[in-house]
Amino acid sequence: MFVADFVLLMFLVSIFAGIFGSIAGLGGGIVVIPVLTILLGVDIHFAIGASIVAIIGTSSGAASTYVKDKVTNLRVGMFLELASASGAIIGAAVAAYTNSAALEFIFGCILLITLVPMVMKIGEEIPKSPELKGLSKRLGLKGSYTETDGRIINYNSTRPVEGLAGTLVAGILSGLLGIGGGAFKVLSMDLAMKLPMKVSTTTSNFMIGVTAAASAGIYFARGDVDPLIVAPVALGIFIGAALGARILLRSRNTTIRKAFAVVLAIAALEMILSAAGVLP
């Protein structure tokens, strides 16, 4: 394959990855990694390096729109970043002593199981807002955003400690495996903290850039960030994330939940198949 063809192909794939990643709140990594490894035969280390760039690109590219339109809950995001950043460091510290295939298998199965409560809530547009009390109240974990039809949605959150614990798992996974982090962030905010779906995916989108940046130093220094691969990935992701952000703001929460459930299923299967040695 010629360099020009490779660049064009990865550019187009990454636009697609950016659209899905920014809507589901997981970043574009889960699309970019299998295309690189399975379709193009690129080494998994380069694919993970490209995934880190794709995640930071999706996060920053879409967040600028989400934050300006106040769908992202900044306080929830920054509070949970305490756990995701700590988790990323813990994951990096224990990586040498863990069996990554076993971990991938276990967490892939956990993600598959979380599809059940996800699917049970599939028709839910806005959750019944819990009462704001205790730690959530002290931390100001509430917010409001405006739907495109002009409705103002006010919401509170609950169970901040459970949210923090789920996000810690997300951070550890990111540090250990480089994948799976975004899914656990969205699930923590949706299932535990009871935030509206749009708030959960856009706040996850906001946080994943920080988690990925935490691990970026090592991948960059090692030479896992190959410029020929990441140049078209970054440029495609920027365009995809900008498009995805526009689509999300105009979509119903039920639609976003469906899109997230599909992406969650794909991410879970990728992890399980990779653990089984079927995928690189």
């Binding site: 690129v42 900044l74 920054m78 510290a93």
Partner: protein, 136 residues
């Protein structure tokens, strides 16, 4: 811009992220154009070869000195790597500026939270790569 206005926090953070992405994109575009002109019709093979026995695995020196040398000699790869550095710095800058934005709101709790996140982030990016046993 009135930093004490909570509305403006979203504006400032949104702008930091947007400018970071635009700057990174411009540099990566420059590098990609250079790459197309110099190597567009080469085979990808050699550029995608992962070398497990040597660091850096892609054979491109990204140490500060190596990167600078590549930049002044107009290596397309080095310019792309600079764009990646700007991209990695974008969420870090966002956290840094959030500390000041919460300080302007006199929200001590969140100044503390974001300062801890910033410390964890800088430790992870700058220190952990050189701690033996990490990321093995």
């Amino acid at each position: 811009m009135n930093l004490k206005d909570p509305e403006s926090m979203n504006q400032v953070i949104g702008k930091v992220l947007r400018y970071g992405v635009i700057l990174s994109a411009l540099i990566v575009i420059l590098g990609t154009i250079g790459l197309m002109v110099s190597n567009g019709t080469s085979e990808t093979g050699g550029y995608l070869a992962y070398n497990p026995s040597a660091v850096p695995h892609d054979g491109i020196d990204v140490s500060p000195a190596g990167l600078l040398h590549g930049l002044v000699t107009f290596s397309a790869f080095s310019w792309i790597e600079l764009g990646v550095v700007v991209l990695i710095a974008t969420p870090v800058s966002r956290v840094l500026i959030s500390v000041f934005l919460f300080a302007a709101e006199k929200d001590r709790l969140y100044v503390m939270i974001t300062a801890v996140v910033l410390a964890l982030l800088l430790f992870s990016i700058l220190a952990t790569p050189s701690i033996p046993g990490f990321h093995a």
